[in-house]
């Protein structure tokens, strides 16, 4: 996001106020125009950039499938039951059990689908917890500097030095959480610290920009300065890390279910499925291989989708790329870069 853009925002904000800045705007934008621009800037342009990128499209498609599986899927497919089919029927053998059955005759596709809602909740909870914590801590500390910064960073460093996995294992054993949201948060209990530190360093750079200086000079409250001037600049970084945090939640939860640290009462969880398949000897006999492979591929595919999406969104925040896609309604051409509309300003540095 450019300097001019931010400046526009300040103007917008102060629009109605009786101030020196307010007087400048002879040709004030109408409300509608402002909405259109906001829509352009925040949704349409990013979406177009994302859609332009093959990786992001693939990623989105995969994530879409999982979202579908997690929302509509359980309504379409009956929950898995013991004795649904014969023991250990192979994959792709019958329509009744497209992915086969496990050692108790439960349908594997149904198990995977019915595990999805909780997995998505867990992933979302972990991702949001990490990024929100890191962003709040990082920006506050980076923007305020001084003693507050020192204190917050000291705490952050302490949290960062606690080894993550053992801590999670102990917490999981002590609390025996079963709510997916709680599990998501526990799994990322200290993952925010590293991210908070990197965000802080980004903020340290951003806060030296003149428009931040200007905003402060105008007497904007700290909160507003952070929200309006600082955050938009670090958003790309935060988003990419949100996706990475989500991936880590998947791996951590599957791993902990597999080693039996997290309690479970049903098999509808991918990690539990992997554990049961392993215990059932899927490594020893091909008769049970599909039982192990199905949840493994499910986990890998979601992770792959998230990586693809993260890489695609990376481009979204690249100002050069973004400029090309910034206006709505017109067919964009690569050369348009030089004729960019005032909305994003020609003020690319």
């Amino acid at each position: 996001m450019s300097q001019k853009t931010n400046h526009d925002e300040i103007v917008d904000a102060l629009d109605d106020e009786d101030s020196a800045f307010g007087a400048v705007a002879d040709d004030t934008l109408s409300k509608r125009e402002r909405y259109v621009r906001a829509l352009d800037r925040n949704i349409v342009a990013p979406a177009r950039i994302v859609w332009d990128d093959l990786r992001a499209r693939v990623g989105l498609a995969i994530i879409g499938i999982y979202l579908f599986m997690g929302t509509v899927g359980p309504k379409l497919i009956d929950p898995p039951r013991t004795g649904d089919g014969p023991r250990l029927e192979g994959a792709f053998e019958t329509w009744a059990h497209p992915l086969g059955t496990d050692s108790l005759g439960r349908d594997i596709l149904a198990s995977i689908v019915h595990a999805t809602p909780n997995m998505l909740l867990m992933i979302l909870a972990g991702g949001i917890f990490t990024t929100v914590m890191a962003t709040v801590v990082g920006t506050t500390s980076g923007y305020l500097r001084g003693r507050v910064d020192q204190f917050i960073m000291m705490v952050t460093d302490v949290v960062m030095t606690i080894p993550g996995l053992p801590l999670v294992v102990i917490l999981a054993a002590a609390l025996s959480p079963e709510n997916p949201i709680v599990i998501g948060v526990i799994l990322t209990i200290n993952a925010w610290a590293g991210l908070a530190r990197s965000i802080r360093s980004q903020v340290l750079a951003v806060r030296e920009n003149s428009y931040v200086e200007a905003a402060k000079a105008m007497g904007m409250p700290t909160r507003t300065v952070i929200r309006r001037e600082i955050l938009p600049n670090i958003m790309p970084y935060v988003l990419v890390n949100f996706v990475n945090a989500s991936r880590n939640v998947i791996f951590a939860s599957v791993g902990l279910y597999f080693i039996g640290v997290l309690p479970y009462d049903t098999i509808v969880n991918w990690g539990v499925m992997i554990d049961l398949a392993y215990q059932g000897g899927a490594l020893q006999t091909t008769a049970a291989a599909h039982w192990l492979l199905a949840p493994l591929i499910t986990v890998m595919l979601l992770s792959f989708g998230l990586i693809m999406f993260a890489q695609g969104t990376d481009r979204m925040f690249n100002p050069r790329v973004r400029a090309r896609h910034s206006s709505s309604g017109t067919a964009e051409e690569p050369d348009e870069e030089t004729n960019s509309t005032p909305a994003t300003g020609g003020a690319l540095k």
């Binding site: 013991t82 250990l88 080693i259 392993y278 215990q279």
Partner: protein
């Protein structure tokens, strides 16, 4: 398992728990893939060089490697202390008093070579020439010590004799005075599973403390059930030599009379964490034999031809136990409803397609594997077999009637009691025991379909015993209903009047029971202890015996102190690439366990090439 939480266990119970631990075979729920077991020759080098190879030309310098699911460095050799007792190695380090051939139901001599049983006296003859590994010879005094400790420890023998009546009359003769006449069947069954594992030091001190009216503690203050022995003074053909974290090494005892049948110098037990790791080790040849291991058919199909399987019918099986003080499961109707809902056939075929048989009629009598299209357990019921409730399973109408009669109502798909509390419970089992886990999951399915909110909770093995079953932390759990004894008395004792059942699971001493086969008849008081005592002393094969068995079976069938679900066949394995061994048809292969008993009789030997 916390010792403090243990009841003062009677003998059968103690043995059962030990067996239960072993039977399911896997330790702990944690199962990280990866290197388990270590090298084939992991650093126990000193032992083989110490033992003097026999002069015999057939002697082969290779160890027999078996498995152990307990942490090797925590294992100990005091059989009265359940916590980490070295169960499998114990079969080699100690001689049993007698051995039982399951296929022909016959007893073979061990330390006790002969027995003569009259109405008021049992005379036991002790084998000559068996040395303690410490040097002394095993005498009648040692056998008497073992029997007396069994009585003080609450064993079945205490029901028909007392410690004062047990006496070594000469070096190789022990006499047991009987207070009531017992059958040979009962007397020998009560010896089964006892091994010669109580050397004078430290057990004489414990016995004397008992005799002085104490609780059986040593001068160091260690009780019988807390004592740990790291380097046992044993009596078996193999003696303790060495151990590290991964492996226990036993050495052939030259002086043992059976040693001439053994042509290899060492027996090793290697640590494996769970069933899966043992399957792999057996498949790859990392181990030579496993005493008990649950192996599902698809895994068995993948075993190479060298792996020889022995199936033994151990009169052992899993069932559902209840906390009888629970406001729901203390009610007979609720237990009956659960029994009507659970489809035992489905549970058995799911959890062990090759090796489990559903209990035909839940009476507590073992013998549910079909023989010539007949169920041996039902023979005891005679003509009255049709009068017992079969609890077919999936009989939701009957179950619903029962719950309604007990004041429950179905509301929103779930049964609620009259206070509006849902009928729900976690059913617990150790997570690493794959057959138990499978069985629980199937039962939970049946119960949930009916509207009882059961959920399966996989527990760590130590937590299951320490915190749940013996720590008063369960409502419903998967446990044993058997005692590894063929004669029905022992199961009845366990289910109706054992310390486990009355002290831990809170089953009442006295219940109200209608007459056999008449569930609607007038209920009368039924005191299990009295009926059991009658059965203990009745003449075997008499009509009176059958009548008593039928009454006790009715108590189990109608009141369901424990719900018997299935019976199991033990699977034992020996690899034949380096070993000559007899097949499963040999009666000696039907003694617990082929890999520990067959070497004694020269039917498991190292190949000489």
């Amino acid at each position: 398992m916390g010792d403090s939480s243990l009841p003062t266990g009677k003998e059968p119970v103690r043995l059962n728990r030990r067996r239960l631990l072993q039977a399911a075979g896997a330790a702990g729920v944690g199962s990280i893939a990866g290197c388990i077991g270590g090298d084939q020759d992991s650093g126990n080098g000193n032992s083989s060089s110490d033992s003097t190879p026999s002069d015999d030309a057939d002697f082969v310098d290779q160890p027999f490697v078996s498995v152990e699911t307990l942490a090797i460095d925590q294992m100990h050799f005091n059989s009265y202390n359940q916590d980490n007792f070295a169960y499998s190695p114990g079969y080699l380090v100690f001689d049993e008093l007698i051995y039982y051939q399951a296929d022909v139901s016959e007893y073979q001599p061990g330390i006790v070579t002969d027995w003569e049983i009259t109405d008021d006296l049992v005379t036991l003859t002790v084998r000559e020439g068996v040395p303690w590994h410490g040097g002394e010879e095993v005498t009648a005094e040692d056998v008497a010590r073992k029997l007396k400790l069994g009585v003080y420890d609450g064993g079945t023998m205490g029901r028909f004799t007392s410690a004062e009546s047990i006496e070594a009359t000469d070096e190789y003769t022990v006499e047991v005075g009987l207070e009531v006449p017992v059958s040979e069947e009962i007397f020998l069954s009560s010896l089964k599973g006892d091994s010669m594992d109580v050397p004078e030091d430290p057990y004489q001190e414990i016995l004397e403390d008992f005799e002085d009216g104490g609780d059986g503690v040593t001068s160091n203050g260690e009780g019988l059930a807390d004592l740990t022995i790291d380097e046992p003074n044993g009596t078996g053909p193999f003696k303790y030599a060495d151990r590290n974290e991964q492996e226990l090494v036993l050495e052939r005892t030259e002086e043992h009379p059976d040693a001439e049948n053994i042509n290899f110098p060492e027996y090793r037990f290697r640590y494996f964490e769970n069933n899966q790791a043992q399957w792999q080790a057996l498949q790859t040849g990392e181990v030579d034999g496993v005493a008990i291991l649950h192996v599902p058919p698809e895994i068995h199909d993948g075993f190479p031809d060298e792996v020889k399987e022995y199936q033994i019918t151990p009169n052992w099986g899993a069932g559902v136990i209840f906390d009888h003080e629970h406001k729901h499961f203390g009610q007979r109707e609720v237990r009956q409803a659960i029994a009507h809902v659970i489809d035992r056939e489905d549970v058995a075929t799911s959890s062990g397609p090759r090796t489990k048989a559903p209990v035909d009629i839940p009476t507590g009598i073992p013998g549910n594997f079909e023989v010539d299209d007949e169920i041996p357990a039902n023979d005891w019921l005679g003509d009255r077999v049709d009068e017992y409730e079969t609890y077919e399973g999936q009989n939701t109408d009957r179950a619903a009637d029962l719950l309604e009669s007990a004041g429950f109502q179905k509301d929103g798909g779930t049964w609620h009691d009259s206070d509006g509390n849902p009928l729900q419970f976690p059913i617990k089992a150790p997570g690493g025991w794959t057959d138990y886990v499978d069985a629980c999951q199937v039962m939970v399915q049946h119960l949930s379909d009916f509207g009882i909110e059961a959920e399966f909770v996989a527990r760590d093995e130590a937590a299951f015993f320490g915190e749940d079953v013996y720590g008063d932390g369960f409502d419903v759990a998967m446990f044993q209903w058997t005692t590894a004894q063929a004669y029905p008395y022992f199961n009845f004792e366990f289910m109706l009047d054992s310390p486990d059942q009355t002290d831990v699971f809170k089953y009442p001493d006295e219940i109200e029971l209608p007459p056999v086969g008449e569930p609607d008849g007038a209920e009368e008081p039924f005191v299990s202890a009295d009926e059991l005592e009658d059965l203990l002393t009745v003449e075997t094969g008499s009509d009176e015996e059958a009548e008593l068995v039928q009454r006790l079976a009715w108590a189990v069938n109608y009141d369901l102190p424990v719900l018997p679900i299935q019976e199991t066949v033990d699977q034992s394995f020996v690899r034949t690439d380096n070993w000559d061994v007899v097949g499963p048809d040999d009666s000696d292969a039907q003694v617990d366990w082929p890999m520990t008993y067959l070497p004694r009789v020269g039917k498991l030997t190292a190949k000489s090439e």
